[in-house]
């Protein structure tokens, strides 16, 4: 039978012998030394998790951007190929001119039923080609003007000036934004397509 004492004293006595031995103590002190010698900052695990999350977000944004770009390029290409097919076919058919004349102003005046204003672009006719006349046509189902020129060597070229919905015009190269006209070869015809002053322009001439 041990001596009786107040409960508090008995509990204190019970724990008085509870101590870490030297080996355990050294292990815990060493554990702290190793941790304190590590570079300061957030726990590595958390940092990597944050880095991973940021990287995932960045990669997602990049992939969304590339997907958007790819979609735009694909849509742009699809539209321009369709226009190139259309104007090349028109060029080959050489349907009769509805108005003949070598004065651009006179020929332009004929196209009064268009729902857009024809624009005289510096590219038109290349200077050494003679205007033969024009006729109504359509580009992608929308009324447009077709002008026919003849060069000194007798070769014919046809020019198309029309309009398209704004979201489609945005897909076409704009020389004003330092984007050269897109070039296609369709059925032996060289076709250039671009946008200018809010209109779509196309030029078709023999590729030879």
């Amino acid at each position: 039978m041990t001596s009786r004492k107040p409960l508090r004293q008995a509990v204190c006595d019970r724990f008085a012998q509870v101590e870490l031995d030297q080996r355990e103590l050294k292990g815990l002190l060493d554990q702290q030394d190793i941790a304190s010698s590590a570079p300061p900052g957030r726990p590595v695990k958390a940092s990597w998790l944050q880095f991973g999350a940021v990287a995932a977000v960045v990669l997602t944004l990049i992939s969304v951007w590339f997907t958007g770009q790819w979609y735009n390029v694909r849509e742009s290409n699809r539209l321009m190929v369709a226009i190139a097919e259309e104007v090349a076919a028109n060029h080959l058919k050489l349907k009769p001119l509805e108005i003949q004349g070598n004065e651009l102003g006179t020929v332009f005046a004929y196209f009064g039923d268009l729902d857009f204003q024809l624009v005289q672009t510096p590219r038109l006719g290349r200077g050494d080609e003679a205007l033969l006349g024009g006729r109504y046509c359509s580009i992608q189902g929308i009324s447009a003007a077709q002008l026919r020129f003849q060069g000194a060597d007798g070769r014919l070229s046809t020019w198309y000036e029309g309009t398209l919905p704004v979201d489609q015009l945005r897909l076409l190269p704009d020389p004003a934004a330092n984007q050269p006209p897109a070039e296609f070869f369709v059925r032996g015809i060289r076709v250039h397509i671009w946008t200018e002053h809010g209109l779509v322009f196309a030029e078709a001439r023999s590729a030879r």
């Binding site: 039978m1 009786r4 409960l7 509990v11 724990f15 870490l20 355990e24 292990g27 554990q31």
Partner: protein, 160 residues
């Protein structure tokens, strides 16, 4: 962060929670590791912080083993006046304490340790354990009744 004195104090706390030397040592090591990974904002409060970390670790472990006993709350109206004063008058020998200690729950051992060894008041114990003061007083009340029984009645299976 922790000097030799701190570590021994925390080790005794771990021992009160585990009542086994090796378990206490493992618990202390895990607690120190956790504190080093996420240090307290106030270095002066490192010991209360470490005790809370250690306590959470121990209770997580007990929950995994389904060994945590839920303490029913007694009628607090008459025990609020008792506080730890009711324990001060208990006279006991070491054998009786050992018997009683083995029959105590982990919460009871923790409360008794914080009061007797660390000198905590009931309010401080309640804050450390993050429990209402009434709940702590209720546990003290039950402990007192058990500690005042004859030793033969105290003998029983050890509880977590």
């Amino acid at each position: 962060m922790f000097d030799q004195q701190d570590l021994n104090s925390l080790f005794r706390y771990c021992h009160a929670l585990c009542d086994a030397r090796q378990d206490a040592c493992d618990l202390l090591q895990s607690g120190v590791e956790r504190c080093l990974r996420a240090p307290p904002e106030d270095p002066e409060r490192r010991l209360p912080y470490a005790r809370r970390v250690i306590r959470n670790l121990r209770y997580d472990e007990l929950r995994r083993q389904r060994l945590v006993a839920f303490e029913p709350l007694d009628d607090e109206s008459f025990i609020t006046e008792l506080s730890f004063n009711s324990l001060e008058s208990i006279i006991i020998d070491q054998d009786e304490l050992e018997h009683a200690w083995r029959s105590m729950t982990v919460v009871e051992r923790e409360i008794l340790y914080l009061w007797a060894v660390e000198g905590f008041t009931a309010e401080e114990v309640a804050a450390q354990l993050e429990r209402p003061k009434g709940s702590i007083l209720s546990i003290i009340h039950r402990m007192r009744k058990r500690l005042q029984r004859p030793p033969s009645i105290n003998k029983g299976a050890s509880r977590a």
